[in-house]
């Protein structure tokens, strides 16, 4: 990883080359490796190292953004020049006020030296027991183990300099056999916190229980959702409406509803980029410290996340949720928490329903109601009189996630970190009346 001194020199080269009124440099350094296995064998094993930097030039209220990965002084100057030219030729952005000024930054605690130094052999040794365990049991395992080390640095010509390093490890397994399929995944800041055997046993256990699935008719069922499925609900809510831009555009399901109850009283959701469980993001790509934001408090719409531009439009302060410069999506809540409950045995209270491991290929059908369609995958089970009695073939649902969060009848005490585009820390949920609209052949 580049040292602080090298990073400051890179930024200084950019500032010296810039004729813009304000200049920002975001440097993203990635050292990542991923080992992928399928059919109980490694079939893909990759590593990459890249340092990419983005320059945002501000001329009056005109902005230009350019990105490059040539770190030579000439390469840096070329990117600065491109950003400046784009800014000069751009029309004014009336709501833009200024790049952020320096603010006190929180400490950084997301780095594991041993994780960063992980070897290809270590990743292969992780995959080995998962595949062997599956093969011994007559099943087939697929999945991956990934190690990432990243350094993100933001500097601007107003004196802001923020730099953070973080590591992350992720592993997932799908185990298949006899018409059944089981899933498990794990994510952590430190690879040592992930136990391949525990991962294998969870996926294998689910695959065993999934064998010889029966068909059930589509219709409305009470469901118990594993954290893998609950994560999908939070992710959809985030992309469809927890950002200020979608509220300002009137496309969010929260637009015009702040202070109203939009979910059940047992639902509270917040975003906390510095939470203990998540891969931390102490500041955003504008260098603004990332703050905890309450989004839903006891079912009531309470807030959204901001970046500098949307905050300025709303007369508020940025909450530190910007996406990288050049993105047109607006701010995004990407470290979401759903408040845990007290009941870890959610199946017991279900008279007839389904236990769902995860959702797959979920897409919005209507954004205002957050109606989604998608499939179940890798483990669906029929519950009768409080017991899991059979594996079930997969089903398609078309259901409103908002309606679902108004019909939660049980929340587990335990939560789990899920990462798929964004971080979510979620419990299991029991939901009444989930609408399944068709079935599939497996």
């Amino acid at each position: 990883m580049l040292t602080d001194r090298e990073l400051r020199a890179l930024a200084d080269t950019a500032f010296a080359a810039s004729a813009a009124d304000q200049t920002e440099v975001v440097v993203r350094e990635v050292d990542a490796a991923l080992t992928r296995f399928a059919n109980n064998s490694i079939h893909q094993n990759v590593a990459e190292r890249n340092v990419e930097f983005t320059v945002r030039a501000v001329v009056g209220r005109r902005l230009g953004v350019a990105t490059g990965n040539d770190l030579s002084p000439g390469g840096i100057r070329r990117v600065v020049e491109r950003a400046s030219i784009l800014a000069q030729h751009s029309p004014e952005l009336p709501d833009f006020q200024s790049l952020p000024r320096p603010q006190p930054l929180p400490s950084n605690d997301g780095w594991s030296e041993t994780t960063a130094a992980s070897s290809p052999e270590a990743r292969a040794r992780f995959a080995l027991p998962v595949c062997r365990r599956a093969a011994e049991a007559g099943f087939v395992a697929s999945g991956y183990v990934e190690i990432r080390a990243e350094q993100i640095t933001v500097a601007n010509s107003l004196g802001l300099f923020a730099s953070t390093r973080r590591t992350s490890a992720g592993a997932m397994a799908v185990v298949q056999g006899d018409g059944g399929s089981g899933y498990a995944d794990r994510f952590a800041r430190d690879a040592a916190q992930i136990d391949p055997m525990e991962l294998a046993e969870e996926a294998l256990g689910r695959a065993r229980r999934s064998r010889n699935p029966i068909e059930v008719a589509p219709g409305e069922y009470d469901v118990v959702l594993e954290p893998y499925a609950v994560a999908d609900i939070l992710s959809a809510l985030s992309f469809l409406g927890f950002g200020a831009r979608s509220v300002q555009d009137q496309t969010s399901f929260l637009s015009g509803r702040f202070g109203e109850r939009v979910m059940g009283e047992n639902i509270s959701i917040w975003d906390d980029p510095r939470g203990e469980e998540v891969i931390p993001e102490p500041f955003d790509p504008e260098g603004v410290p990332s703050r905890r934001v309450d989004l839903i408090v006891k079912g009531v719409a309470a807030g959204v996340v901001y970046d500098t531009l949307t905050a300025s439009r709303a007369g508020k302060e940025s909450t530190g949720h910007a996406l990288p410069p050049g993105s047109t999506f607006g701010p995004l809540a990407r470290h979401l928490y759903l408040a845990p409950g007290t009941d870890d045995d959610l199946v017991r209270a279900v008279d007839r329903g389904l236990l769902v491991t995860r959702f797959w290929y979920t897409r919005p059908v209507h954004p205002l109601t957050v109606t989604m369609t998608g499939m179940t995958r890798d483990g669906v089970f029929l519950i009768e009189r409080g017991e899991v009695v059979a594996a079930v073939k997969n089903l398609r649902f078309t259901h409103s996630y908002l309606a679902a969060l108004n019909a939660v009848t049980g929340i587990s005490r335990r939560t789990k970190l899920e990462i798929d585009e964004i971080n979510t820390v979620v419990p299991r949920l029991r939901v009444a009346g989930w609408r399944f609209t068709s079935a599939t052949a497996h």
Binding site: A38, N39, D70, L86, H89, T251
Partner: protein, 480 residues
């Protein structure tokens, strides 16, 4: 570029690789986006780097770096070999690549007007004019437009003697508007939805789309949808417009025929496929009206190129022949498992990614109908246009799609506007129910720049030639 590639290749072989290839890629990308009369983002991106892929001890290794130097070539090649050796710790079957690839050649996308030479002012003027036209409709709360272009220069060398250079240029455009009423939100876009409509071409591609001629229309349609009738539930005849037919091909055929996926390499992520090898040559995938080809050679398609990222020349392959499933998209390794040669579909999303089997231009061949005649021939049904949502299961079997806009068809005439239209089905049942495809006049090659696959995730640019098509006994109206 060449010295780095050659050095990496030499180092990989000297370190023990049985096979090695190197791709050096330079990427340049520009995007201009406007929103509600103002600039949303103007961006320019440049990236360069190289990736080294090896087979060592019968297993795959890959490493990449952004530093283009011979010293880094040594480090990365050695790392790729080390990774390959680690893979061999858990490798049940040694990699076989079939016949060697010794292609030597050069390919450059034909471009009439280089998009990078089009001034920012001209790009902005076009988008802002369309934006203004959309916002003349009072119900519109968000109007957006974007143009984008990118150019990749690629050098590919392998240890078997292949030496291929390519310069691929892509250009695209999109406009979109959203209308809002108190309890309804409706979006229309043009030419397609979810990102740019792109082609391998220059600025002439943007001009051909004539976005100004469509801006007011889509704004009026979005406004009209606010009070339109809800698409009723039921089973009926559906006519899909060209772009939705293209997406149908993409999801239910294009992904299902990726042979790496069929063999399980995506099982943990994108899924597998119901089109297993025992079905090859015999399975009735669709009706006699359904002929689908994979064609990386058609002019202007977003999946058009000279050579894939294994150095195999671009090809045209029949996938479905009058309804019968006859071909896959293949790589060297997967084709060898079927005793075939690769049909050239391995592509990587950049220098830092390993090539995977990706769609090229997966085209539904045109039929004989005009859309007008097809509607006139339909007693009762629904005409659906422009994708709004898409979802399909992990074997590409059970799907549900929605479109931005739809119209009732009654007595052979286009009738009332319908909102929130959805349809669902089972892939082979759906394609077997296809009883008409429109002719070449109605046939458009759609460019989809957002096809996802792989871990780490890769986004590929692919094309689909399609014309409007009619399907019988389709379940519709799943959103109530």
């Amino acid at each position: 570029m060449r010295d780095v590639a050659q050095r990496a290749l030499d180092t990989a072989i000297s370190r023990g690789a049985q096979y090695a290839d190197v791709r050096v890629v330079e990427l340049r990308r520009e995007s201009v986006a406007v929103k509600n009369g103002a600039v949303d983002a103007i961006t320019s991106e440049e990236s360069a780097g190289f990736g080294v892929r090896v087979v060592v001890d019968g297993a795959w290794g890959f490493a990449s770096s952004a530093i283009l130097s011979t010293a880094e070539a040594d480090r990365v090649a050695a790392l790729a070999v080390a990774i390959g050796r680690a893979s061999a710790l858990l490798s049940l079957r040694p990699v076989t690549l079939g016949p060697p690839v010794t292609t030597r050649g050069r390919y450059v996308t034909p471009v009439i007007r280089d998009p990078f030479t089009v001034s920012l002012e001209e790009r902005l003027a076009l988008l802002l004019a369309a934006d203004e036209a959309m916002r003349r409709q009072p119900a519109i709360v968000v109007a957006e437009g974007r143009v984008g272009c990118e150019r990749q220069r690629k050098l590919f060398l392998n240890s078997e003697g292949a030496d291929v250079e390519q310069e691929l240029t892509e250009t695209g455009v999109a406009i979109e508007c959203t209308a809002r009423a108190e309890d309804e939100l409706q979006t229309r876009s043009y030419p397609n939805s979810f990102g740019l409509h792109m082609g391998t071409a220059g600025w002439e591609f943007v001009e051909q789309q004539q976005i100004l001629a469509h801006a007011e229309r889509i704004a009026d349609e979005a406004a009209a949808l606010l009070t339109a009738k809800q698409c009723p539930p039921g089973v009926t005849t559906v006519i899909l417009d060209s772009s939705q037919t293209a997406l149908q091909v993409h999801e239910s055929c294009g992904h299902a025929i990726e042979l790496d996926r069929v063999f399980g390499s995506e099982a943990a992520y994108a899924g597998t496929s119901f089109l297993t090898p025992d079905k090859l040559g015999t399975y009735q995938y669709g009706s006699e009206h359904v002929t689908i080809v994979a064609d990386a050679t058609i002019p202007g398609g977003l999946g058009t190129f000279g050579f894939d990222d294994e150095g195999v020349p671009a090809q045209r392959t029949t996938i479905v022949d009058r309804g019968r499933f006859v071909g896959y998209l293949t790589s060297r390794e997967t084709a060898a498992q079927l005793g075939q040669a690769s049909n050239g579909t391995m592509r990587a999303d950049g220098w830092n990614r390993l090539p995977l089997i990706r769609m090229t231009n997966i085209n539904l061949e045109p039929g004989t109908w005009t859309l007008e005649d097809l509607i006139a021939d339909t007693d009762e049904g629904i005409l659906m246009q422009t994708n709004r949502s898409w979802s399909i299961d992990d074997r590409r079997w059970n799907f549900q799609f929605g479109t931005q806009i739809a119209w009732e068809i009654r007595g052979g005439k286009r009738g009332a506007l319908l909102k929130n239209a959805t349809y669902a089905g089972i892939t082979p049942e759906f394609w077997r129910s296809c009883d008409a495809v429109c002719n070449r006049e109605e046939w458009i090659v759609w460019g989809l720049p957002n096809c996802g696959k792989g871990q780490p995730p890769q986004t590929m640019h692919v094309g689909h030639g399609a014309a409007p098509a009619r399907f019988r006994n389709v379940r519709v109206g799943l959103l109530r």
